[in-house]
Symmetry: C3
Subunit: 342 residues, 3 copies
């Protein structure tokens, strides 16, 4: 059950409306005016709750649930307790998300500028922006319509942010051009000077970091992440990319559209990721690599070589996932053999 202090609910929704929103025809023998008031887990919900069941890890909960309505797939519908209205959908997760968004619409920030915000006179703010307490906005910054910037965030000189951006607290953005509908969670820093230096017998010396960061539309970036600006080429984050918490993106990295970078992964300088790449948690990608479209990289992998389109890799150093599974089995065999040898 959701906590109404933190999540304001729109109103209840009728069974007929749910089926209509999902373009599914209402089954016979159900009360089309029955009202549902919340989304819930299979375990916690009651007669007016809507739940999702798609992960068979939760089969036991599905078979004993008391929710009123369960959204599920054809393959898993049979697991659900009697008495529950079962809504079968080809994409049950998407269907659930749509209903949840309807019941709990994202609160929109009111248009206002907190009197403590320090905004350069040369900055241009679009209509309906919302600027929190202690925000600092530099010279020539351009914010599109409807941008919301939460308290304590710093937008440095010349940065542009497209319309409807949602920038949380304690963020800094410098040397960057940001697209529309970009969400940045708290504590993330974008555009700072990268780790750009060389080392020889005479010591370390800095290489000027002369690029910027370009972020596409519909990007979401987690909390306490770091995206360094390019050293000469730019650091580029494609449209629809999702970046999780504590991720490190070094200078000159290119991330293709719709790719997903899970928490604590790190991508070293000048590596190029294609579209729809999935980088799982704590992965490390060395510098100057080419990772093709649709590549999947298992958690904690360490990539030291290019990966071609569509491949799945695992391990450190990363190898094709099939070989990695064989390696894991071979290692287990090795332990057993040594046991017998004793």
């Amino acid at each position: 059950m959701t906590d109404s202090r933190f999540h304001k609910q729109h109103d209840s929704i009728s069974l007929a409306k749910i089926y209509e929103l999902l373009s599914v025809s209402l089954p016979t023998g159900v009360d089309k005016d029955r009202l549902f008031t919340n989304v819930s887990t299979l375990k916690d919900g009651g007669a007016s709750s809507i739940a999702l069941y798609h992960n068979t890890k939760y089969r036991a909960e599905a078979s004993t649930t008391h929710v009123g309505l369960c959204i599920t797939s054809e393959a898993t519908a049979a697991h659900i307790a009697k008495g529950v209205i079962i809504l079968v959908h080809p994409k049950p997760q998407r269907a659930y998300a749509l209903i949840a968004q309807h019941l709990y619409p994202t609160p929109t920030a009111k248009s206002f500028i907190h009197p403590t915000a320090v905004i350069a006179p040369t900055a241009a703010l679009g209509e309906g922006c919302s600027i929190g307490a202690y925000v600092v906005i530099g010279d020539n910054v351009e914010l599109g319509a409807g941008v919301a910037i939460e308290s304590h965030t710093v937008i440095h000189d010349n940065v542009k942010i497209g319309k409807n951006g949602r920038i949380s607290s304690h963020v800094t953005i410098s040397h960057s051009i940001v697209g529309d509908r970009v969400m940045i969670k708290p504590g993330t820093h974008i555009g700072q000077q990268g780790f750009g230096f060389h080392m020889d017998e005479a010591g370390h010396f800095d290489v000027p970091q002369l690029g910027i960061v370009i972020i596409g539309n519909d990007v979401q970036i987690g909390a306490n992440a770091c995206i360094d600006r390019g050293s000469l080429d730019n650091t580029i984050i494609g449209n629809g990319v999702r970046i999780d918490n504590l991720v490190q993106i070094a200078h000159n990295v290119y991330i293709g559209d719709q790719s997903v970078i899970v928490a604590q992964a790190g991508i070293a300088g000048s590596s190029h990721l294609g579209r729809f790449v999935i980088v799982a948690g704590q992965v490390g990608i060395a510098g100057h690599l080419n990772i093709g479209n649709g590549v999947k990289i298992a958690a904690q992998s360490g990539l030291m070589r290019d990966v071609t389109d569509g491949d799945t890799v695992a391990g450190s150093p990363a190898i094709p996932v099939r070989d990695w599974h064989k390696q894991t089995i071979a290692l287990q065999r090795l332990i057993r053999e040594k046991k017998h040898a004793k």
Copy 2:
């Protein structure tokens, strides 16, 4: 030796008082009024210093130390230089900590509200709170008595923090209920929207994140850590849990009482950890796993399966620690065999 500019010292302590505080009977032939003025390492201390010796890595230092008093265990007492008063205690670390706390009491924040703090009129602050410069406190926030919030921290609407909380600078807390005596170090973000979306051929779509974060009593959370709120279930941090710097806790994670999560570890969504679990540094735990009570997970391990109560695991993928040791040895043998084969 401690630097008195940064660590204010209470006063000196007599030998009799030390033994009394630790409930150990004073040995014969010592001057019970002898005064000690500081705690120190074995190497740096002098006649008025108190040191701890419990890690045999420092045996050489113990045998040549010039400290006046050394707190140690029965097993290690014989390593200590002649002339040092030796205080044998069954829990030497705890004994040392008690004496150090006595000599250097934690400074308590004065009750005050900095004039630059932005506090919603509907927020309720308990007695004796201390609110630093540029702190932002939202609507309906409730702070217990004696809560200290350092400069620049943001507490979002409806958050509750129990008594005697110590929240450092540049922290954000939203969608959370926090217990008593909770310490949060700088730069940590709690309660933000998690990495909750799905992906299909039609692209990514957000799943509303409708849970909260519930933090128990006596919890300590390090710097630059991230704890996302639940997606529907809540993210729960049990009583007495210790979380180190740069740790990632995803939505719906449950961490049982007294568990310890070391730096840079990451726990993926919906995993459940029991009580007294130890997660070492840089460990990754996949989503939807059950980790039993008292489980120990070695540094850099990658968990992909459930772990039963009391087990110790290591490796990526993680296996029982005994097998992991055997695997390490078998791999070394494999290298040597290949050498001979050449």
Copy 3:
């Protein structure tokens, strides 16, 4: 090409001046007055661009580049397209950096104190300091001449920062003595209480963290990094050390001069690193280890033992890099053998 909105260019530079700055004699048959206006990649530059070519991964780009001048090494000069002026230098990266620094000088912060800064009357600021909006500076803080502190940063009581420090936004520094010319990127926290507690059947108990952090001269620290203060000994960062984003340095760690710690690496308590050590990305170093001078640690390695001067190690647990390569090859053979066995 650099974006002139974000990177102000000094002026153009003549060929003669470039050769003079690098102490290389001008070749015959070139126009010594020819002007260059920017640095660029091999791919993007034109006749007035200066590029660096040193990494043979970019050989194809070198052979077709249209830049006017290319700085390179003797070994790689032959790869470069006809018509390009080739400047051979024994240290091409250093030569490129020098020219780039000349063309794009680092902007210097103007001396000013923002009216919103909260500065304790007992703090002592050197000449020419620059203090941003909402900065908080505590009692008895000492800043050397020319220190620039960006908005929202908090310097706690008694901290000293040497001359010409550059501290970005959202940083906190407490319990620390910082040298000259130190750069700290946004979101980094230094001097907080470390993960110092012990655990026994009676529960966790805190050990007072009574040391400080001492940072040498010419140190650079990345974004969202954490450096905890010592527990009794101090945490020490030597001269010229470079620390990347999201790095964890625990209490009592010692890092020798000129060492380099790449992103997301973590060093546990009381470990001692020598001079010129290179710790690659996502490395974990256990506590109480001795890592010699000039040691190189490959990415994602996990160190559990001391390493002697000059060694290179890899793997988790880390082993000499030669053995690690052999192990990788042996594992591949193992997979193939199992395949044949079927």
